[in-house]
Protein backbone atom coordinates (compact mmCIF):
# COMPACT_ATOMS: atom_id res chain seq x y z
CA UNK A 1 0.00 0.00 0.00
CA UNK A 2 1.11 3.50 -0.77
CA UNK A 3 2.15 5.42 2.33
CA UNK A 4 0.69 8.89 2.12
CA UNK A 5 2.43 11.88 3.61
CA UNK A 6 -0.45 12.24 6.06
CA UNK A 7 -0.06 8.78 7.57
CA UNK A 8 1.79 7.88 10.76
CA UNK A 9 2.10 11.48 11.92
CA UNK A 10 2.97 10.67 15.52
CA UNK A 11 5.54 8.06 14.51
CA UNK A 12 7.19 10.48 12.10
CA UNK A 13 7.29 13.22 14.74
CA UNK A 14 8.83 10.75 17.21
CA UNK A 15 11.50 9.81 14.66
CA UNK A 16 12.22 13.48 13.93
CA UNK A 17 12.54 14.22 17.66
CA UNK A 18 14.96 11.30 18.01
CA UNK A 19 16.92 12.52 14.98
CA UNK A 20 17.11 16.03 16.44
CA UNK A 21 18.26 14.67 19.81
CA UNK A 22 20.90 12.49 18.17
CA UNK A 23 22.16 15.47 16.16
CA UNK A 24 22.12 17.61 19.30
CA UNK A 25 24.40 15.20 21.17
CA UNK A 26 26.60 14.38 18.16
CA UNK A 27 27.20 18.07 17.45
CA UNK A 28 29.19 18.45 20.68
CA UNK A 29 32.11 16.41 19.34
CA UNK A 30 32.55 18.66 16.29
CA UNK A 31 35.09 21.45 16.58
CA UNK A 32 38.72 22.31 17.17
CA UNK A 33 39.01 20.53 20.52
CA UNK A 34 38.75 16.78 20.03
CA UNK A 35 36.42 15.38 22.67
CA UNK A 36 35.03 11.87 22.90
CA UNK A 37 31.31 11.29 23.10
CA UNK A 38 31.68 9.74 26.55
CA UNK A 39 33.41 12.86 27.89
CA UNK A 40 30.72 15.10 26.39
CA UNK A 41 27.97 13.11 28.05
CA UNK A 42 29.86 13.05 31.37
CA UNK A 43 30.44 16.81 31.29
CA UNK A 44 26.73 17.42 30.71
CA UNK A 45 25.69 14.90 33.35
CA UNK A 46 28.19 16.42 35.79
CA UNK A 47 25.96 19.52 35.87
CA UNK A 48 23.23 17.49 37.48
CA UNK A 49 24.98 14.55 39.13
CA UNK A 50 28.11 14.05 41.16
CA UNK A 51 30.62 12.73 38.62
CA UNK A 52 34.36 12.88 39.37
CA UNK A 53 36.08 15.22 36.89
CA UNK A 54 38.68 13.28 34.89
CA UNK A 55 38.87 15.76 32.00
CA UNK A 56 40.73 19.03 31.51
CA UNK A 57 38.91 22.04 33.02
CA UNK A 58 39.01 23.99 29.73
CA UNK A 59 36.70 21.34 28.25
CA UNK A 60 34.01 22.51 30.65
CA UNK A 61 34.18 25.96 29.07
CA UNK A 62 34.32 24.55 25.52
CA UNK A 63 31.29 22.34 26.01
CA UNK A 64 29.08 24.42 28.28
CA UNK A 65 29.86 27.99 27.26
CA UNK A 66 30.82 27.68 23.60
CA UNK A 67 29.27 24.61 22.02
CA UNK A 68 26.09 24.28 24.11
CA UNK A 69 24.71 27.78 23.36
CA UNK A 70 25.76 27.53 19.72
CA UNK A 71 24.05 24.18 19.22
CA UNK A 72 20.91 25.31 21.03
CA UNK A 73 20.78 28.55 19.03
CA UNK A 74 21.26 26.70 15.73
CA UNK A 75 18.26 24.50 16.49
CA UNK A 76 16.07 27.32 17.78
CA UNK A 77 16.93 29.74 14.96
CA UNK A 78 16.41 27.05 12.30
CA UNK A 79 13.10 26.04 13.85
CA UNK A 80 11.94 29.63 14.29
CA UNK A 81 12.71 30.65 10.69
CA UNK A 82 11.01 27.50 9.37
CA UNK A 83 7.82 28.00 11.38
CA UNK A 84 7.76 31.67 10.37
CA UNK A 85 8.13 30.63 6.72
CA UNK A 86 5.42 27.97 6.98
CA UNK A 87 3.07 30.48 8.63
CA UNK A 88 3.60 33.16 6.00
CA UNK A 89 3.19 30.61 3.20
CA UNK A 90 -0.15 29.47 4.60
CA UNK A 91 -1.34 32.99 5.41
CA UNK A 92 -0.55 34.28 1.93
CA UNK A 93 -1.55 31.04 0.18
CA UNK A 94 1.78 31.07 -1.61
CA UNK A 95 4.59 28.52 -1.57
CA UNK A 96 7.18 31.12 -2.60
CA UNK A 97 6.75 33.39 0.40
CA UNK A 98 9.45 33.32 3.06
CA UNK A 99 10.16 35.65 5.99
CA UNK A 100 12.85 37.31 3.83
CA UNK A 101 10.59 37.86 0.83
CA UNK A 102 8.30 40.07 2.90
CA UNK A 103 11.22 42.25 3.89
CA UNK A 104 11.31 41.41 7.58
CA UNK A 105 14.96 40.33 7.50
CA UNK A 106 16.10 43.35 5.52
CA UNK A 107 14.11 45.63 7.83
CA UNK A 108 15.50 44.02 10.94
CA UNK A 109 18.96 44.07 9.40
CA UNK A 110 18.68 47.79 8.79
CA UNK A 111 17.49 48.36 12.35
CA UNK A 112 20.36 46.33 13.77
CA UNK A 113 22.93 48.05 11.54
CA UNK A 114 21.56 51.43 12.54
CA UNK A 115 21.84 50.50 16.20
CA UNK A 116 25.38 49.19 15.63
CA UNK A 117 26.77 52.48 14.32
CA UNK A 118 25.29 54.21 17.36
CA UNK A 119 27.21 51.99 19.79
CA UNK A 120 24.02 50.49 21.14
CA UNK A 121 23.80 47.70 23.66
CA UNK A 122 22.62 44.24 22.69
CA UNK A 123 19.17 44.99 24.03
CA UNK A 124 18.90 48.17 21.99
CA UNK A 125 19.99 46.35 18.84
CA UNK A 126 17.36 43.70 19.50
CA UNK A 127 14.63 46.30 20.06
CA UNK A 128 15.48 48.44 17.04
CA UNK A 129 15.72 45.33 14.83
CA UNK A 130 12.33 44.18 16.05
CA UNK A 131 10.69 47.54 15.35
CA UNK A 132 12.14 47.77 11.85
CA UNK A 133 11.18 44.16 11.13
CA UNK A 134 7.56 45.03 11.91
CA UNK A 135 7.75 48.26 9.90
CA UNK A 136 9.04 46.34 6.88
CA UNK A 137 6.25 43.74 6.99
CA UNK A 138 3.59 46.36 7.61
CA UNK A 139 4.89 48.45 4.71
CA UNK A 140 4.86 45.48 2.31
CA UNK A 141 1.38 44.58 3.43
CA UNK A 142 0.01 48.12 3.12
CA UNK A 143 1.54 48.64 -0.31
CA UNK A 144 -0.03 45.38 -1.51
CA UNK A 145 -3.42 46.42 -0.18
CA UNK A 146 -3.20 49.87 -1.69
CA UNK A 147 -2.60 48.57 -5.19
CA UNK A 148 -3.97 45.08 -5.47
CA UNK A 149 -6.64 44.23 -2.93
CA UNK A 150 -5.63 40.69 -2.06
CA UNK A 151 -3.56 39.48 -4.97
CA UNK A 152 -0.50 37.49 -4.05
CA UNK A 153 1.67 38.70 -6.90
CA UNK A 154 1.31 42.28 -5.74
CA UNK A 155 2.18 41.25 -2.19
CA UNK A 156 5.37 39.56 -3.32
CA UNK A 157 6.26 42.58 -5.43
CA UNK A 158 5.59 44.82 -2.44
CA UNK A 159 7.86 42.61 -0.35
CA UNK A 160 10.60 42.88 -2.96
CA UNK A 161 10.17 46.66 -3.01
CA UNK A 162 10.38 46.94 0.77
CA UNK A 163 13.35 44.55 0.87
CA UNK A 164 15.16 46.60 -1.74
CA UNK A 165 14.38 49.80 0.12
CA UNK A 166 15.84 48.47 3.36
CA UNK A 167 18.82 46.97 1.51
CA UNK A 168 19.48 50.46 0.16
CA UNK A 169 19.15 51.91 3.64
CA UNK A 170 21.56 49.26 4.95
CA UNK A 171 24.03 50.39 2.27
CA UNK A 172 23.66 53.98 3.44
CA UNK A 173 24.35 52.94 7.03
CA UNK A 174 27.39 50.99 5.82
CA UNK A 175 28.65 54.07 4.01
CA UNK A 176 28.30 56.11 7.16
CA UNK A 177 29.91 53.43 9.36
CA UNK A 178 33.56 53.76 10.32
CA UNK A 179 35.63 51.33 8.30
CA UNK A 180 37.80 50.13 11.19
CA UNK A 181 35.25 48.38 13.36
CA UNK A 182 31.64 49.16 12.50
CA UNK A 183 31.66 48.29 8.79
CA UNK A 184 33.30 44.86 9.18
CA UNK A 185 31.03 43.95 12.06
CA UNK A 186 27.91 45.00 10.10
CA UNK A 187 29.08 43.11 7.02
CA UNK A 188 29.86 39.88 8.86
CA UNK A 189 26.71 40.20 10.91
CA UNK A 190 24.59 40.48 7.74
CA UNK A 191 26.13 37.31 6.33
CA UNK A 192 25.02 35.41 9.35
CA UNK A 193 26.96 33.58 12.01
CA UNK A 194 26.29 31.71 15.21
CA UNK A 195 29.91 32.17 16.27
CA UNK A 196 29.17 34.87 18.83
CA UNK A 197 26.17 33.13 20.37
CA UNK A 198 26.25 32.96 24.16
CA UNK A 199 23.99 31.62 26.85
CA UNK A 200 22.51 35.13 27.14
CA UNK A 201 21.23 34.80 23.57
CA UNK A 202 19.72 31.45 24.52
CA UNK A 203 17.98 33.07 27.49
CA UNK A 204 16.61 35.70 25.09
CA UNK A 205 15.58 33.24 22.40
CA UNK A 206 13.80 30.72 24.62
CA UNK A 207 11.01 33.02 25.91
CA UNK A 208 10.60 34.60 22.45
CA UNK A 209 10.12 31.16 20.96
CA UNK A 210 7.81 29.98 23.71
CA UNK A 211 5.56 33.03 23.29
CA UNK A 212 5.55 32.98 19.47
CA UNK A 213 5.21 29.25 19.04
CA UNK A 214 2.63 29.15 21.83
CA UNK A 215 0.48 31.76 20.05
CA UNK A 216 0.90 30.06 16.69
CA UNK A 217 0.19 26.61 18.08
CA UNK A 218 -2.88 27.86 19.93
CA UNK A 219 -4.33 29.28 16.69
CA UNK A 220 -3.02 26.49 14.40
CA UNK A 221 -6.47 25.33 13.30
CA UNK A 222 -7.58 28.88 12.53
CA UNK A 223 -4.37 29.63 10.63
CA UNK A 224 -4.90 26.39 8.71
CA UNK A 225 -8.23 27.67 7.35
CA UNK A 226 -6.44 30.69 5.85
CA UNK A 227 -5.04 28.28 3.26
CA UNK A 228 -8.45 28.41 1.52
CA UNK A 229 -8.54 32.19 1.61
CA UNK A 230 -9.46 34.91 4.05
CA UNK A 231 -13.06 35.28 2.90
CA UNK A 232 -13.87 31.61 3.22
CA UNK A 233 -12.18 31.52 6.63
CA UNK A 234 -14.46 34.36 7.78
CA UNK A 235 -17.56 32.45 6.67
CA UNK A 236 -16.31 29.49 8.71
CA UNK A 237 -16.35 31.73 11.77
CA UNK A 238 -12.64 32.49 12.01
CA UNK A 239 -11.66 35.89 13.37
CA UNK A 240 -9.36 36.53 10.42
CA UNK A 241 -7.96 39.95 11.43
CA UNK A 242 -6.93 38.53 14.81
CA UNK A 243 -5.44 35.36 13.35
CA UNK A 244 -3.54 37.36 10.73
CA UNK A 245 -2.16 39.57 13.47
CA UNK A 246 -1.09 36.49 15.43
CA UNK A 247 0.74 35.07 12.40
CA UNK A 248 2.43 38.33 11.49
CA UNK A 249 3.41 39.26 15.04
CA UNK A 250 4.65 35.77 15.94
CA UNK A 251 6.54 35.22 12.69
CA UNK A 252 8.10 38.65 12.82
CA UNK A 253 9.01 38.23 16.49
CA UNK A 254 10.69 34.88 15.81
CA UNK A 255 12.45 36.12 12.70
CA UNK A 256 13.81 39.31 14.22
CA UNK A 257 14.91 37.46 17.33
CA UNK A 258 16.79 35.03 15.09
CA UNK A 259 18.18 37.77 12.85
CA UNK A 260 19.40 39.88 15.74
CA UNK A 261 21.27 36.91 17.21
CA UNK A 262 22.86 35.54 14.08
CA UNK A 263 22.30 37.90 11.17
CA UNK A 264 20.37 37.34 7.96
CA UNK A 265 19.91 33.68 7.07
CA UNK A 266 18.08 32.94 3.84
CA UNK A 267 16.54 29.79 2.38
CA UNK A 268 15.76 27.95 5.63
CA UNK A 269 12.35 29.59 6.00
CA UNK A 270 11.55 28.91 2.35
CA UNK A 271 12.55 25.28 1.82
CA UNK A 272 11.99 23.64 5.21
CA UNK A 273 8.18 24.07 5.11
CA UNK A 274 8.19 22.25 1.76
CA UNK A 275 10.26 19.41 3.19
CA UNK A 276 7.77 19.32 6.05
CA UNK A 277 4.80 19.10 3.65
CA UNK A 278 6.51 16.27 1.81
CA UNK A 279 6.85 14.34 5.06
CA UNK A 280 3.61 15.05 6.92
CA UNK A 281 1.21 16.62 4.40
CA UNK A 282 -0.01 20.17 3.76
CA UNK A 283 -2.10 20.63 6.93
CA UNK A 284 -0.73 23.66 8.78
CA UNK A 285 -1.48 22.28 12.22
CA UNK A 286 0.91 19.45 11.39
CA UNK A 287 3.66 21.28 9.50
CA UNK A 288 4.01 23.81 12.29
CA UNK A 289 5.52 20.98 14.36
CA UNK A 290 7.32 19.21 11.53
CA UNK A 291 8.85 22.45 10.24
CA UNK A 292 10.26 23.30 13.64
CA UNK A 293 11.96 19.91 14.04
CA UNK A 294 13.29 19.74 10.47
CA UNK A 295 14.37 23.39 10.51
CA UNK A 296 16.24 22.91 13.78
CA UNK A 297 18.00 19.80 12.51
CA UNK A 298 18.74 21.43 9.14
CA UNK A 299 20.42 24.53 10.54
CA UNK A 300 22.30 22.47 13.11
CA UNK A 301 23.76 20.28 10.36
CA UNK A 302 24.78 23.38 8.41
CA UNK A 303 26.40 24.95 11.46
CA UNK A 304 28.16 21.65 12.18
CA UNK A 305 29.65 21.81 8.69
CA UNK A 306 30.85 25.34 9.43
CA UNK A 307 32.41 24.26 12.70
CA UNK A 308 33.87 21.15 11.09
CA UNK A 309 35.71 23.06 8.34
CA UNK A 310 39.10 23.97 9.72
CA UNK A 311 40.93 27.23 9.22
CA UNK A 312 38.01 29.43 8.13
CA UNK A 313 34.61 30.27 9.60
CA UNK A 314 32.22 30.26 6.63
CA UNK A 315 29.25 32.64 7.01
CA UNK A 316 26.06 30.81 7.96
CA UNK A 317 23.80 32.69 5.54
CA UNK A 318 26.11 31.80 2.67
CA UNK A 319 26.14 28.11 3.49
CA UNK A 320 22.34 27.90 3.85
CA UNK A 321 22.13 29.29 0.31
CA UNK A 322 24.77 26.85 -0.95
CA UNK A 323 22.91 23.88 0.53
CA UNK A 324 19.43 25.36 0.10
CA UNK A 325 19.50 25.93 -3.66
CA UNK A 326 20.13 22.29 -4.69
CA UNK A 327 17.58 21.11 -2.10
CA UNK A 328 15.09 23.53 -3.63
CA UNK A 329 15.74 22.21 -7.13
CA UNK A 330 15.22 18.68 -5.80
CA UNK A 331 11.91 19.77 -4.25
CA UNK A 332 10.81 21.35 -7.53
CA UNK A 333 11.35 18.04 -9.28
CA UNK A 334 9.38 16.17 -6.59
CA UNK A 335 6.25 18.26 -6.06
CA UNK A 336 5.31 19.46 -9.53
CA UNK A 337 1.68 18.60 -8.91
CA UNK A 338 1.37 20.31 -5.57
CA UNK A 339 2.24 23.74 -6.91
CA UNK A 340 0.14 25.42 -9.49
Amino acid sequence: MKIRSNDYFKLKILLLVLLALALFVASFIIGRYAITMKTVIDIILAQFFDIPQYWDATLNTVILQVRLPRIMLAMMVGGALSVAGASYQTLFKNPMVSPDILGVSAGAGFGAALAMINNSTWWEIQTVAFIFGIIAVAAAYLIAHMFGDHTITVLILAGIVVSSLFQALISIVKTLADTENELPSITFWLMGSLGKGTMNDVYMMVPTLIISLGMIYFFRNQINTLAVGEDEAITMGVNVPLVKLVVIVSSTLMTVAAVSICGIIGWVGLIVPHLARMITGANYSKIVITSFLIGGAFLLIIDDIIRGVEGVELPLGVLTALVGTPVFVFLLSRVKKGWT
Binding site: R4, N6, Q89, T90, K93, N94, P95, Y217, F218, F219, N221, Q222, N224, T225, A227, V228, D231, E232, I234, T235, M236, G237, V238, N239, R277, G281, A282, N283, S285, V335, K337, G338, W339, T340
Partner: protein, 261 residues
Protein backbone atom coordinates in the same frame (compact mmCIF):
# COMPACT_ATOMS: atom_id res chain seq x y z
CA UNK B 1 -35.90 31.69 8.89
CA UNK B 2 -33.75 34.29 7.19
CA UNK B 3 -35.27 37.72 6.68
CA UNK B 4 -33.64 40.41 4.58
CA UNK B 5 -35.30 43.82 4.62
CA UNK B 6 -34.38 46.83 2.54
CA UNK B 7 -30.73 45.90 2.37
CA UNK B 8 -28.60 48.47 0.57
CA UNK B 9 -24.95 48.49 -0.31
CA UNK B 10 -22.62 50.82 -2.17
CA UNK B 11 -18.96 51.74 -2.40
CA UNK B 12 -19.85 55.20 -3.66
CA UNK B 13 -23.23 56.69 -2.56
CA UNK B 14 -23.85 57.96 -6.09
CA UNK B 15 -23.58 54.46 -7.48
CA UNK B 16 -25.73 52.03 -5.56
CA UNK B 17 -24.74 48.38 -5.93
CA UNK B 18 -27.73 46.96 -4.03
CA UNK B 19 -31.00 48.86 -3.55
CA UNK B 20 -33.70 47.94 -1.02
CA UNK B 21 -33.30 44.19 -1.29
CA UNK B 22 -36.04 42.38 0.65
CA UNK B 23 -36.79 38.68 0.68
CA UNK B 24 -37.12 35.84 3.12
CA UNK B 25 -35.99 32.25 3.23
CA UNK B 26 -38.06 29.68 5.12
CA UNK B 27 -36.95 26.29 6.38
CA UNK B 28 -36.63 23.80 3.51
CA UNK B 29 -36.76 26.59 0.94
CA UNK B 30 -34.50 26.49 -2.08
CA UNK B 31 -34.21 30.02 -3.36
CA UNK B 32 -32.60 30.62 -6.73
CA UNK B 33 -31.13 34.05 -7.34
CA UNK B 34 -31.09 34.81 -11.06
CA UNK B 35 -29.66 37.79 -12.86
CA UNK B 36 -27.12 38.88 -15.45
CA UNK B 37 -23.41 39.19 -14.71
CA UNK B 38 -22.43 42.20 -12.63
CA UNK B 39 -25.88 42.75 -11.22
CA UNK B 40 -24.90 42.38 -7.58
CA UNK B 41 -25.74 38.73 -6.84
CA UNK B 42 -22.33 37.95 -5.43
CA UNK B 43 -22.27 41.26 -3.54
CA UNK B 44 -25.60 40.34 -1.97
CA UNK B 45 -24.19 36.99 -0.85
CA UNK B 46 -21.12 38.77 0.51
CA UNK B 47 -23.36 41.14 2.50
CA UNK B 48 -25.26 38.20 3.98
CA UNK B 49 -21.98 36.52 4.92
CA UNK B 50 -20.53 39.70 6.50
CA UNK B 51 -17.76 39.85 3.89
CA UNK B 52 -19.15 43.20 2.80
CA UNK B 53 -20.75 45.46 5.38
CA UNK B 54 -24.25 46.45 4.31
CA UNK B 55 -25.01 50.16 4.48
CA UNK B 56 -28.62 49.96 5.60
CA UNK B 57 -31.42 47.49 6.08
CA UNK B 58 -32.18 44.60 8.39
CA UNK B 59 -30.81 41.08 8.39
CA UNK B 60 -32.31 38.55 10.79
CA UNK B 61 -32.29 34.81 11.37
CA UNK B 62 -35.17 33.67 13.59
CA UNK B 63 -35.40 37.12 15.13
CA UNK B 64 -31.65 37.35 15.83
CA UNK B 65 -30.12 40.51 14.36
CA UNK B 66 -27.21 39.30 12.23
CA UNK B 67 -25.62 42.72 11.89
CA UNK B 68 -24.94 42.59 15.62
CA UNK B 69 -23.93 38.90 15.78
CA UNK B 70 -20.22 38.11 15.80
CA UNK B 71 -18.48 36.12 13.06
CA UNK B 72 -18.60 32.86 15.02
CA UNK B 73 -22.33 33.13 15.77
CA UNK B 74 -23.05 33.93 12.14
CA UNK B 75 -20.99 30.94 10.97
CA UNK B 76 -23.07 28.70 13.23
CA UNK B 77 -26.25 29.93 11.53
CA UNK B 78 -25.10 30.33 7.94
CA UNK B 79 -22.52 28.39 5.94
CA UNK B 80 -21.01 29.37 2.61
CA UNK B 81 -20.30 27.09 -0.33
CA UNK B 82 -17.99 29.03 -2.67
CA UNK B 83 -17.11 28.10 -6.22
CA UNK B 84 -14.39 25.49 -6.10
CA UNK B 85 -10.91 26.66 -6.99
CA UNK B 86 -7.50 25.04 -6.82
CA UNK B 87 -5.50 25.55 -3.62
CA UNK B 88 -1.87 26.56 -3.21
CA UNK B 89 -1.08 23.42 -1.21
CA UNK B 90 -2.07 19.78 -1.61
CA UNK B 91 -4.63 19.18 1.09
CA UNK B 92 -6.52 15.93 1.40
CA UNK B 93 -10.28 16.18 0.85
CA UNK B 94 -11.11 15.25 4.44
CA UNK B 95 -8.78 17.96 5.73
CA UNK B 96 -10.73 20.54 3.75
CA UNK B 97 -13.99 19.20 5.20
CA UNK B 98 -12.49 19.27 8.71
CA UNK B 99 -11.88 23.01 8.33
CA UNK B 100 -15.63 23.47 8.68
CA UNK B 101 -15.34 22.24 12.28
CA UNK B 102 -12.93 25.05 13.19
CA UNK B 103 -15.34 27.08 15.34
CA UNK B 104 -16.56 23.95 17.12
CA UNK B 105 -13.09 22.94 18.29
CA UNK B 106 -12.09 23.82 21.84
CA UNK B 107 -9.77 26.86 21.98
CA UNK B 108 -6.31 25.67 21.06
CA UNK B 109 -7.52 22.06 20.91
CA UNK B 110 -7.31 19.44 18.20
CA UNK B 111 -10.08 17.65 16.33
CA UNK B 112 -11.78 15.02 18.47
CA UNK B 113 -13.19 11.64 17.48
CA UNK B 114 -16.61 13.31 17.35
CA UNK B 115 -15.31 15.90 14.86
CA UNK B 116 -13.87 13.16 12.67
CA UNK B 117 -17.13 11.23 12.87
CA UNK B 118 -19.06 14.28 11.67
CA UNK B 119 -16.65 14.71 8.76
CA UNK B 120 -17.11 11.07 7.76
CA UNK B 121 -20.89 11.31 8.08
CA UNK B 122 -21.12 14.46 5.98
CA UNK B 123 -19.03 12.86 3.24
CA UNK B 124 -21.07 9.65 3.47
CA UNK B 125 -24.28 11.66 3.12
CA UNK B 126 -23.02 13.24 -0.12
CA UNK B 127 -21.67 9.95 -1.47
CA UNK B 128 -18.05 11.09 -1.46
CA UNK B 129 -16.75 9.14 1.53
CA UNK B 130 -14.54 7.01 -0.74
CA UNK B 131 -12.66 10.18 -1.78
CA UNK B 132 -11.83 11.36 1.69
CA UNK B 133 -8.11 10.65 1.26
CA UNK B 134 -7.86 11.99 -2.30
CA UNK B 135 -5.98 15.23 -2.89
CA UNK B 136 -8.36 18.16 -3.32
CA UNK B 137 -6.28 19.66 -6.12
CA UNK B 138 -6.43 16.45 -8.14
CA UNK B 139 -10.23 16.15 -8.00
CA UNK B 140 -12.68 17.18 -10.73
CA UNK B 141 -14.70 20.38 -10.42
CA UNK B 142 -17.85 18.49 -9.43
CA UNK B 143 -16.03 16.49 -6.77
CA UNK B 144 -14.42 19.60 -5.33
CA UNK B 145 -17.82 21.29 -5.17
CA UNK B 146 -19.17 18.33 -3.16
CA UNK B 147 -16.22 18.54 -0.75
CA UNK B 148 -17.04 22.20 -0.14
CA UNK B 149 -20.68 21.30 0.54
CA UNK B 150 -19.51 18.66 3.04
CA UNK B 151 -17.40 21.38 4.69
CA UNK B 152 -20.47 23.59 4.98
CA UNK B 153 -22.49 20.71 6.47
CA UNK B 154 -20.04 19.99 9.30
CA UNK B 155 -20.26 23.67 10.19
CA UNK B 156 -23.78 22.73 11.35
CA UNK B 157 -25.51 25.84 10.09
CA UNK B 158 -29.06 25.44 8.86
CA UNK B 159 -28.77 27.99 6.08
CA UNK B 160 -26.49 27.23 3.14
CA UNK B 161 -25.42 30.04 0.83
CA UNK B 162 -24.14 28.68 -2.47
CA UNK B 163 -22.40 30.73 -5.12
CA UNK B 164 -23.22 29.16 -8.49
CA UNK B 165 -23.09 25.54 -7.31
CA UNK B 166 -23.69 24.32 -10.86
CA UNK B 167 -21.13 26.51 -12.63
CA UNK B 168 -18.55 24.68 -14.74
CA UNK B 169 -20.29 21.33 -14.34
CA UNK B 170 -21.44 18.98 -17.08
CA UNK B 171 -25.11 17.86 -17.29
CA UNK B 172 -24.62 14.78 -15.16
CA UNK B 173 -22.87 16.72 -12.41
CA UNK B 174 -25.41 19.56 -12.62
CA UNK B 175 -28.23 17.08 -12.02
CA UNK B 176 -26.27 15.40 -9.24
CA UNK B 177 -25.67 18.75 -7.60
CA UNK B 178 -29.33 19.82 -7.85
CA UNK B 179 -30.39 16.46 -6.40
CA UNK B 180 -28.04 16.95 -3.46
CA UNK B 181 -29.46 20.44 -2.93
CA UNK B 182 -33.03 19.06 -2.97
CA UNK B 183 -32.09 16.28 -0.54
CA UNK B 184 -30.52 18.79 1.82
CA UNK B 185 -33.66 20.92 1.76
CA UNK B 186 -35.70 17.80 2.57
CA UNK B 187 -33.48 17.29 5.59
CA UNK B 188 -34.35 20.76 6.89
CA UNK B 189 -31.69 23.00 5.40
CA UNK B 190 -32.58 26.29 3.74
CA UNK B 191 -30.64 26.99 0.60
CA UNK B 192 -29.90 30.26 -1.13
CA UNK B 193 -28.13 29.76 -4.44
CA UNK B 194 -27.19 31.88 -7.40
CA UNK B 195 -27.28 30.51 -10.91
CA UNK B 196 -26.93 31.44 -14.54
CA UNK B 197 -29.31 28.65 -15.56
CA UNK B 198 -32.97 29.71 -15.19
CA UNK B 199 -33.89 26.08 -15.91
CA UNK B 200 -32.49 25.17 -12.53
CA UNK B 201 -35.19 27.24 -10.88
CA UNK B 202 -37.74 24.83 -12.36
CA UNK B 203 -35.68 21.71 -11.68
CA UNK B 204 -34.87 22.22 -8.04
CA UNK B 205 -36.09 25.47 -6.54
CA UNK B 206 -39.35 26.50 -4.92
CA UNK B 207 -38.58 30.19 -4.94
CA UNK B 208 -36.93 32.48 -7.45
CA UNK B 209 -35.63 36.01 -7.16
CA UNK B 210 -34.83 37.94 -10.31
CA UNK B 211 -32.22 40.62 -9.77
CA UNK B 212 -31.22 43.36 -12.14
CA UNK B 213 -28.97 46.40 -11.62
CA UNK B 214 -28.96 45.95 -7.87
CA UNK B 215 -32.69 45.73 -7.24
CA UNK B 216 -35.16 42.89 -7.18
CA UNK B 217 -37.17 42.88 -10.39
CA UNK B 218 -39.51 40.12 -9.36
CA UNK B 219 -39.78 37.31 -6.83
CA UNK B 220 -42.09 34.39 -6.23
CA UNK B 221 -42.69 30.84 -7.37
CA UNK B 222 -40.55 29.84 -10.36
CA UNK B 223 -43.71 28.81 -12.30
CA UNK B 224 -45.14 32.31 -11.81
CA UNK B 225 -42.22 34.58 -12.47
CA UNK B 226 -39.72 32.70 -14.61
CA UNK B 227 -41.41 33.38 -17.95
CA UNK B 228 -40.51 34.66 -21.40
CA UNK B 229 -41.34 38.26 -20.63
CA UNK B 230 -39.42 38.46 -17.33
CA UNK B 231 -36.32 36.62 -18.55
CA UNK B 232 -36.13 38.71 -21.72
CA UNK B 233 -36.27 41.84 -19.61
CA UNK B 234 -33.88 40.41 -16.99
CA UNK B 235 -31.10 39.46 -19.38
CA UNK B 236 -31.77 42.14 -22.00
CA UNK B 237 -31.79 39.50 -24.72
CA UNK B 238 -34.66 37.38 -26.11
CA UNK B 239 -35.22 34.30 -23.96
CA UNK B 240 -38.06 31.89 -24.58
CA UNK B 241 -39.64 29.87 -21.78
CA UNK B 242 -41.53 27.01 -23.30
CA UNK B 243 -42.74 23.53 -22.49
CA UNK B 244 -41.00 20.38 -23.58
CA UNK B 245 -42.69 17.02 -23.70
CA UNK B 246 -40.40 14.26 -22.57
CA UNK B 247 -40.14 11.47 -25.14
CA UNK B 248 -40.24 8.54 -22.84
CA UNK B 249 -42.62 9.82 -20.16
CA UNK B 250 -46.05 11.34 -20.07
CA UNK B 251 -44.72 14.55 -18.59
CA UNK B 252 -43.93 18.07 -19.73
CA UNK B 253 -41.29 20.31 -18.21
CA UNK B 254 -40.57 23.99 -18.60
CA UNK B 255 -37.36 24.93 -20.36
CA UNK B 256 -35.63 28.24 -21.01
CA UNK B 257 -33.93 28.83 -24.33
CA UNK B 258 -32.00 31.93 -25.38
CA UNK B 259 -32.98 32.98 -28.88
CA UNK B 260 -30.52 34.26 -31.48
CA UNK B 261 -31.62 36.27 -34.44
Amino acid sequence: MLTVEELSFYYDPDRMILKDISFSLETKDILCLLGPNGTGKTTLLRCLLALNKMKSGRLEIDGCDLTKANIKKRAEMMAYVPQATVMAFSYEAREIVMMGRVTHLASGGSASREDRKQVDEAMEKLGIRHMSRALFNEMSGGERQMILIARALVQQAKILVMDEPTANLDYSNQVKMLQVIKDLAEQGYSILMTSHFPDHAFLACNRAVLMRDGYIMSQGLPEDIVNTENLTKLYGTPVCVTEAKLDYQDRTIKVCVPVMN
